[in-house]
Symmetry: C2
């Protein structure tokens, strides 16, 4: 069975080899509604290659279930640990190819852009992001874990760009 | 149609967003035979996410065609350019997940180990590696490009480990 992807559904993914957060929203006329959010956690004893498979299959399952029209990831910067950056890059590559293998375009935003978009402050804390994501999506509780909240923030960031053509979004 | 993977076939992959080299060998009693080698080159105008898809689908097609029992990649180190390392990490993640999605285990060796294994010198040049790969596989011409030769060297490196249990190989 095959459906057309739903252009009004956006999935944000915050990839990581330990926790990969995800968040799906539906864009309605002037508001956003949360469809699903949570995280993919490969079992702790798994070796790295099996972790990537769990992430790939987990993301594919979400895409099959919800048929989003676009996938959004965070721009990757390197901070201190380069080996961690490589591992994160691999998880990110796996996420991107999951989307592209289903014909879904991939966009990226910097963490600063996502925070600015949701909180109005590019240096907002993770708990400030959680609070604003809860408000914008009218959730009854704070979205947890933070990885899921960050993924929802990415989806919201992209949704806001759809309504504001003055701000460039970046397809990768 | 589904076949059991052939444990005597090893595929080496040298991933990259511009050129991904591949090399497949069959391990016979005391020798190795080249089955196929070459490279996957995503069209130059493609954006990064489409490049990953070309690599993923290219590797999947090779796995489906030849049904290798194991996939071998090079250990990734970071040299100068960290952004390049992240891109390479993503191509590497895509390669690893292609193998794991088909139940194929993934091993890695450092460039030094692969060169030591094939040439007997961990600091051998790429052209020395090409020459020895040609000899070991009894090829009528030098294997080109170097990315394909490097991929064949990785496969040979793993094959030699299979016959020498004193040297640990590293499943990732």
């Amino acid at each position: 069975m095959s459906f057309e992807n739903d252009e009004s559904i956006i999935i944000g993914i915050d990839p990581g080899t330990v926790v990969t957060g995800y968040g799906l929203i539906r864009v309605e006329k002037s508001s956003y509604r949360a469809i699903d959010y949570g995280c993919i956690r490969p079992p702790s004893g798994y070796k790295l290659s099996d972790r990537y498979l769990v992430i790939f299959e987990g993301v594919c399952a979400l895409l099959d279930k919800h048929q989003p029209g676009v996938l959004v990831v965070e721009t990757q910067y390197v901070h201190k640990n380069v080996q961690s950056a490589i591992k994160l890059g691999m998880a990110r590559g796996v996420t991107i190819v999951a989307a592209k293998s289903k014909g879904i375009p991939v966009f990226e935003y910097s963490p600063t852009t996502a925070k600015m978009s949701v909180v109005g402050n590019g240096r907002a804390s993770k708990s400030q992001v959680q609070g604003m994501v809860q408000r914008l999506l009218d959730l009854s509780a704070l979205p947890t874990p933070e990885d899921a909240s960050d993924a929802l923030a990415l989806a919201i960031c992209h949704a806001q760009r759809l309504n504001d053509y003055s701000t460039a979004s970046r397809e990768i």
